[in-house]
Structure formats: structure tokens, C-alpha cells
């Protein structure tokens, strides 16, 4: 049927076609999906009217449960119910141990040792990586989007903390691939919030976005001007958030109750964290709360007041303010130039956070927007613009690289190639030479971070460059280009300049999945999702049928009258309605396929006539001389 869709190259067959795209906020605690419908961006609720999807996944032998139901099962099935998985994205086991040293091995899961550099959690359905678990959350959001919008998705914009490094961004993109989502762009969360806030309020000038979520903190200093959102600087901590408030309170409870952390079962630990979180939230409204927990051998009751809470979380809030100051300095902006401070993320509901941030910026805060939903809404607005639905077409987001990129040099030092807060996309080239006669390969270790020593930065990957023509030592000129794209992701290419030979580049990520691992996961997910696959392929055929129907309708409207006899027209129309009925009623893929084939057969002659006419028409536009040349 493809032949029916005759159009100029580069032009859509349907010029005013509306394409569906979604924005996804993949959060530590909660996730959301949003879309622009009839020009209005909004988050999409589930069938119970809930917008927030708790980022919790429970693995059962016969099902994968995502969301509030999984969250409710957390305590009783703590080993197989995974929450806050975002904190593990793009991280290695050794790093996690450092991150969670306060409550030694607090994560109530069993990590398995494996050959992969990526940590795996043991569940009843096998070992799961953070990428796979995130993919299950993304699948649930994608499904919600498709069901609400009733159409095939063109793609999604997925938000990430601005301070996510390359490995964490790559892991997020891998999760989307695994979930079958076409990623239009990875968008920084504060930038997304600024878009939603800025377009809504019409604010212009310099704006600070303070984004404290469940597990990450970002600060972005941005300039807003006529639809242009330019990030001047960004800073933060990709391992600091409301979860840490809970952990600090939980530690306090454990200390007060005089229990040994080692004696706690994973279920009990989960319960303490749960009570800590509840107490934290309650203290936004009341002066003090009573906490009651039944430990194995004692029933503990205690009181936590606001002042005590403040002393527990103040050190954490101070850390965020340090990042704010650095970001202002990097942006070359004074506090009094900041016109608005936009508060984003559930943890900015905490009174203490608001007090401190207001005092720091010496400004009133913008807290009138829903801090949970604003990021997803901003992502939806950009997704809508990226697929070409934005009629004004002047929304432009200019972002920066959050952390410097460097390569390891002699003595374990990091030589900066691209410094933090450089606008992206960006590319830098550097020339290297060989140090041995006949050397045909070299390896580069790329790290990310601000510190001098490679060991103090995050190792991203080793790039192995091969296939240079042999030269005597020092004669080769190897030009290595580091390219960071608009998603903030790094790629490396290399060329030997004297010969012009392009090197082959093999990437060995330090904390990421190898391409082969992702492929294996994709394959596995398809094998296990038999039923899913059937639904999916039926869905695909329905989309195909819609396309076919639309093509035949538009062709008939165009030239059906002149090219077909009444008889021919009637015959095509009849088969067309059969397909239209099958499109809605068919439960088997084959049924739909047959209906399409039938229509194809009956309209074959018509297609041929149209092609002929089209070729003649395009020749008619040219001068005869052109064909004589």
C-alpha cells in the first residue's frame, strides 16, 4: 500500500498531522507522564484518577507490579519489591557501599556478585539491574500514555537530574530502549520545570530553579527570554534528596530505641524508614509527632519535634546551599539579579528547606506551582515541540554540561577537555601521538568530575582506538574528537591525520551496560512477554490499518472520481469498509492482515494508475531540454 502515499521527498504525506509525544518524569520516589492535548499540557492520570505513579516495582513469579500496589507490598515482600531504584542508575557496587555507609547495607535487597560491572538485585524472577527495573516503570508510564491518548506514540522526552553524569544518563537511555520508547531527548529536570513555569507565568530574566527530589538535588541558574531558556550554570548532588532526610530520621530512631542496625530484618528496616518519612511529612503541619515501632524485642515509642528534625536535616540542606553558591558564581550572577526562585520536587514542601532557601537567596520563593508535576509538564511541552506540533516554533532550550570531562594522563591526573557549564552540544579535539614504533592502537580513560586526581573523579569509560597505520614513535598524529550531544552524552572518534585513517573505537563503560548486555535483556524481555507481544503486534497492525485507511481515503478524495469508474469505486469502498470494521473488531493479528491484503489487491490497478499520472505530472514541470541533455 506504500505506493499510494505519493508525496514530495522530505514532505509528510499528511501535512497537518498531529503527532503524539509524551514527557516522562522518571523520579526516585514517584514518576509521572504528561502530554499536550488540544494545546494544553497536563499530567495523565491512571484509571483511578491518580497522577503520581510510585516508582516501586514488585516482582512476582507470575507478574510485574508497578506503582501504589507494589508500594503497599513493600514491607511484606521487601526482597522482591524495589524502590528508589534511580539512586542505583549508572552506579557500581563499590560506589553504593560508600553512598549508604551510614546505615550499613540499608538497602533491604540482596545484591548478587556477577561478571557485570553493574550491580544486580536478586528477585524471585531472576537478577535485575537498575536499568531493567527502571524499564519496567517506563513501560507502565508508556502504557498509560498510549491508553489515554489512544494512539501510537512518536516518542518521549525523559527527564534526568541536571547533575546526572554520563553513565547515569546512558543508563536512563538504556532503560528507555528496553521499554521500547523512542527517546526524543533527555531533558534536565530543572530546565523542564523552568519551561513549564516560564511559559505559564511569562517571567523573563534570571531565574534559579531549586529542585530537591527524593534522591537527587539540582540547582540551575537560567536566563528566560522570549521562549529561549538558556541554562547559565548548573550544580547539585545526584545522591542527595528527601530519602536522606528519612535516613537521618531513621538513624535517630534506631539510636533512640537502642537497637543494633545489624539485628534489623529488611522488613523492619523498611518499616523504620516508612515511619521516619511519615514523621517528616507530619512535622510540616504540627509541632511534634509521636512515633511508635514494634521492634523484635521491644515496643518503642518516642517523640520527635520540629527543632530536633531541623537539627537532623540542616546539615543536608546546607550542602544544597553550597551548590547554589557555586552555581551563582559559575553563572557570573549576583544574588540580587535573580528575579525568581522556583521550587521544584516533593522535598521542597519541607518548611525548613523553604526557610533556608529563602534566606539564602534573600528572595520570595515561587511555591505556587505543583512541585511534583511541573517537571513532567515541562517535558511534555518540549516533546510536543520536538515532534513538530509547536505552531509558534520558537521554544528553544539551551543546556550545559554539568560536570567537567577529562582524560587520564601520566601520574593519575585528570586533564580537563571540556569544563563544566559549557553549552552543549560541544565538541573538542585533541592531538596525541604514539610512543612506540609501529604502535597501531591506544586507549583513553575518560573521567567526569572537577577534582585533579583521576581517582577522585568518576570513571566513565575506557575507549580503545584501533587500526592506525604503523609509524615510528612520535610520528603519528592522532586527532581524537570528544563530542557531547544535546542529551549530554559523550562519544569519541579518532583519526590518524597523516594517513587520514579513521580508527575503530570500542567503548568499555566503567559502570554501564555493554551493548551486548542490553541486547540480551531486550531478547529476554521479548521471550518472557509472550502475551504482551501478541497485544503489541495486534496494536501495530491496527496502526498500520489506520495508515492504510487514511491513505486510501485521501487518494480517493484526490482523484478517485477521475481515475476510477463508478463500479471500481464501489468495489474499493466496500473492501475498505470491511477493513474499517476489522480494524475495530479483530482480535487476531492475522484477521487484520488479511483484510489489509484484500484492500491492497482490489486497489492495485488504481495504485498503478496514480503512479503513472504522478510521474507524468512531475515531468510536465520540466523543460524538454533537460531531458535531452
Amino acid at each position: 500500500m506504500a505506493l499510494l502515499q505519493i508525496s514530495e521527498p522530505g514532505q509528510s504525506t499528511k501535512p497537518h498531522e498531529h503527532k503524539f509525544a509524551i514527557g516522562i518524569d522518571l523520579g526516585t520516589t514517584n514518576s509521572l507522564v504528561a502530554s499536550v492535548r488540544s494545546g494544553r499540557p497536563d499530567t495523565l492520570p491512571d484509571e483511578n484518577g491518580e497522577h503520581l505513579l510510585p516508582s516501586v516495582v514488585q516482582y512476582k513469579t507470575d507478574a510485574v507490579i508497578v506503582g501504589s500496589q507494589a508500594k503497599n507490598n513493600q514491607i511484606e515482600d521487601s526482597q522482591n519489591t524495589i524502590s528508589s531504584i534511580k539512586r542505583l542508575m549508572g552506579r557500581g557496587i563499590d560506589e553504593l557501599k560508600n553512598q549508604f555507609e551510614n546505615l550499613s547495607d540499608v538497602l533491604p535487597y540482596t545484591f548478587v556478585q556477577s561478571d557485570s560491572v553493574v550491580p544486580k538485585i536478586k528477585t524471585v524472577v531472576g537478577d535485575k539491574t537498575a536499568v531493567e527495573i527502571s524499564a519496567d516503570i517506563l513501560k507502565a508510564l508508556k502504557k498509560r500514555g498510549e491508553q489515554t491518548l489512544g494512539d501510537e506514540l512518536e516518542g518521549a522526552v525523559i527527564t534526568v537530574p541536571a547533575y546526572f553524569d554520563d553513565a547515569q544518563r546512558q543508563a536512563t537511555k538504556d532503560a528507555a530502549t528496553l521499554a521500547g520508547i523512542n527517546v526524543l531527548r533527555l531533558l534536565n529536570e530543572p530546565t523542564a520545570a523552568a519551561v513549564a513555569y516560564g511559559l505559564d507565568s511569562g517571567a523573563e530574566g534570571i531565574v534559579a530553579v531549586y529542585d530537591l527530589g527524593g534522591g537527587t538535588f539540582d540547582i540551575s541558574i537560567m536566563q528566560l527570554k522570549k521562549g529561549v531558556f538558556e541554562v547559565l550554570s548548573t550544580g547539585g548532588d545526584s545522591a542527595l534528596g528527601g530519602d536522606d532526610f528519612d535516613h537521618a530520621i531513621a538513624e535517630w530512631i534506631i539510636k533512640q530505641a537502642a537497637v543494633k542496625p545489624a539485628d534489623l530484618s529488611s522488613g523492619l528496616l523498611r518499616l523504620v524508614l516508612h515511619e521516619a518519612c511519615k514523621a517528616k511529612e507530619a512535622l510540616s503541619d504540627v509541632e511534634q509527632v509521636q512515633i511508635n515501632i514494634e521492634f523484635t524485642d521491644n515496643n518503642w515509642t518516642g517523640t520527635l519535634n520540629r527543632q530536633q528534625l531541623n537539627s537532623l536535616i540542616d546539615p543536608l540542606i546546607k550542602k544544597t546551599l553550597l551548590s547554589c553558591r557555586r552555581a551563582l558564581r559559575d553563572a557570573n550572577v549576583e544574588k540580587d539579579q535573580v528575579v525568581d526562585v522556583v521550587m521544584v520536587g516533593g522535598s521542597t514542601r519541607a518548611l525548613r528547606v523553604r526557610e533556608n532557601v529563602a534566606a539564602f537567596f534573600e528572595a520570595d520563593l515561587k511555591v505556587d506551582i505543583d512541585p511534583d508535576r511541573v517537571v513532567a509538564i515541562g517535558a511534555a511541552i518540549q516533546a510536543n515541540a520536538l515532534v513538530g506540533n509547536d505552531s509558534d516554533g520558537n521554544l528553544l532550550l539551551m543546556d550545559v554540561l554539568p560536570l567537567s570531562l577529562g582524560i587520564e594522563t601520566m601520574g593519575g591526573l585528570s586533564e580537563k577537555i571540556i569544563s563544566r557549564n559549557t553549552p552543549i552540544p560541544v565538541s573538542r579535539a585533541q592531538e596525541f601521538t604514539t610512543y612506540k614504533d609501529g604502535q597501531t592502537a591506544m586507549a583513553l580513560h575518560v573521567v567526569q568530575g572537577e577534582r585533579e586526581l583521576v581517582d577522585d573523579c568518576r570513571s566513565l569509560a575506557k575507549f580503545e582506538l584501533r587500526g592506525f597505520p604503523p609509524h615510528v614513535a612520535g610520528a603519528a598524529r592522532i586527532r581524537v574528537t570528544f563530542q557531547v550531544d544535546a542529551d549530554g552524552l559523550l562519544s569519541v572518534s579518532a583519526k590518524e591525520e597523516t594517513s587520514g585513517v579513521e580508527a575503530s573505537v570500542e567503548v568499555k563503560p566503567s559502570y554501564g551496560l555493554q551493548d551486548a548486555e542490553i541486547e540480551a535483556m531486550l531478547k529476554a524481555s521479548m521471550e518472557f512477554a509472550g502475551e504482551d507481544k501478541d497485544t503489541r503486534s495486534l496494536r501495530e497492525q491496527q496502526v498500520e490499518a489506520d495508515r492504510v485507511l487514511e491513505a486510501i481515503d485521501s487518494a480517493m478524495a484526490d482523484d478517485g472520481e477521475e481515475m476510477l469508474s463508478a463500479d471500481e469505486r464501489e468495489k474499493i469502498q466496500q473492501v475498505r469498509s470491511e477493513l474499517a470494521i476489522a480494524r475495530h473488531n479483530a482480535t487476531e493479528t492475522q484477521e487484520l492482515k488479511d483484510a489489509m491484503k484484500k484492500l491492497e489487491k482490489v486497489s492495485a490497478e488504481y495504485v498503478a494508475r496514480r503512479m503513472n499520472a504522478s510521474v507524468q505530472k512531475s515531468m510536465a514541470g520540466h523543460q524538454v531540454e533537460e531531458f535531452n541533455k
Partner: protein
């Protein structure tokens, strides 16, 4: 055929005159106008080749913007337009008085923590450095105009010194502020 933008110099890219006294708000505006056309987001539904081209062009424009935005790199770039490449240069002669002054400043920075009001002292240093840099840019403009390239070059080297000192002042200020919090 490569996009003609790759043949333009950084000033031409933004259609601004080659000058030390660049109007930064004008540069910013031109950058926004240009990015509206070329940013990869404008090509999100295009083919891979166009996407790659958009990324490369935007990378070039970003590089050009960054270079022109900062005085020392702008001046250095202006010298390359006259065939002077200062990367990896070996001739680093500099007038003795300036070097002496710089060494004294470094010592002051190193000692600043023992002062009664170190943050005030650092603020003053920072302001002095900014003034010095502005004056150097002014004299660069004169020498550059008269094709006195060696003297222009020396000024860029002085600016590099001043930038390093400024960075040190900023780092220590940051450290001290951290300790206060």
C-alpha cells in the same frame, strides 16, 4: 558539501565586527537567533545525517560563542586571525615589573587567611584584577590596530596571568565561605 558556516570566522558567524569591545548583550542575542535555526532540537524528526550536521554546527557555534564571550580567549582568537597561534608557544618573555607585581600578589593570596577580614581583602583583590584586565584589553586594542603583534601577544600573556590569579582568588573565597557556613 559542508555547510558554509564552517568557513566563517567566529565574528562572522554572529555578524559582529572584529573588535575587543564586543557588545556582549548583542552577542547573546545573535547567538539566540542563530540557535533558533540550527539547534539539534529543530531537527528532532529529521534523518540521522541532518541530526548529525545540526549537532556539529551547533557545537561550532557554541565554541565560537564561548571563545568570544571571555576577553582573554577573544583576544587570543583575534591574534589567530592575524596568523599568530599562541598555543604551545615557547617565547614567554614578559616585562619584569609585571612579573614582580604578580609574584607579590600570589604571596598576598597565600597569606590572606591570616588577615583580620580575609573576605574583604579578597574582594578588593578581585576588583583590582578586574580593573587591570580592563585596562589591558584597552591597550591591546591599540596595538592590534597598529599591527603591533608582539606587543599584542604580550598583553594576552599578561591577561592569562591575571585570569589565573583571579581564579585563585575565587577558589579561596569559595573555601572561606564554605568554612563559614
Amino acid at each position: 558539501m559542508p555547510n558554509p558556516i564552517f568557513k566563517q570566522n567566529y565574528f562572522e558567524i554572529f555578524s559582529v565586527p572584529v573588535s575587543t569591545a564586543l557588545d556582549l548583550s548583542q552577542l547573546k542575542e545573535k547567538n539566540h537567533e542563530l540557535q533558533q535555526q540550527i539547534h539539534p532540537d529543530r531537527f528532532a524528526s529529521s534523518g540521522d545525517a541532518e541530526k548529525r550536521e545540526a549537532m556539529q554546527i551547533t557545537s561550532l557555534v557554541n565554541e565560537a560563542y564561548n571563545t568570544l564571550k571571555v576577553p582573554v580567549s577573544r583576544l587570543q582568537y583575534m591574534l589567530t586571525l592575524k596568523g599568530v597561534d599562541m598555543n604551545g608557544e615557547t617565547d614567554t618573555s614578559m616585562d619584569g615589573a609585571f612579573l614582580m607585581q604578580q609574584m607579590e600578589l600570589r604571596e598576598e593570596i597565600a597569606d590572606v587567611k591570616s588577615q583580620a577580614d580575609p573576605l574583604d581583602v579578597l574582594d578588593t583583590m578581585s576588583r583590582d584584577l578586574k580593573n587591570q584586565a580592563e585596562n589591558l584589553v584597552l591597550s591591546f586594542a591599540e596595538f592590534y590596530q597598529q599591527d603591533e603583534l608582539d606587543k599584542s601577544r604580550e598583553i594576552v600573556r599578561k591577561l592569562q596571568f591575571i585570569n589565573k590569579a583571579q581564579k585563585e582568588v575565587n577558589d579561596i573565597t569559595e573555601q572561606l565561605e564554605d568554612e563559614l557556613i
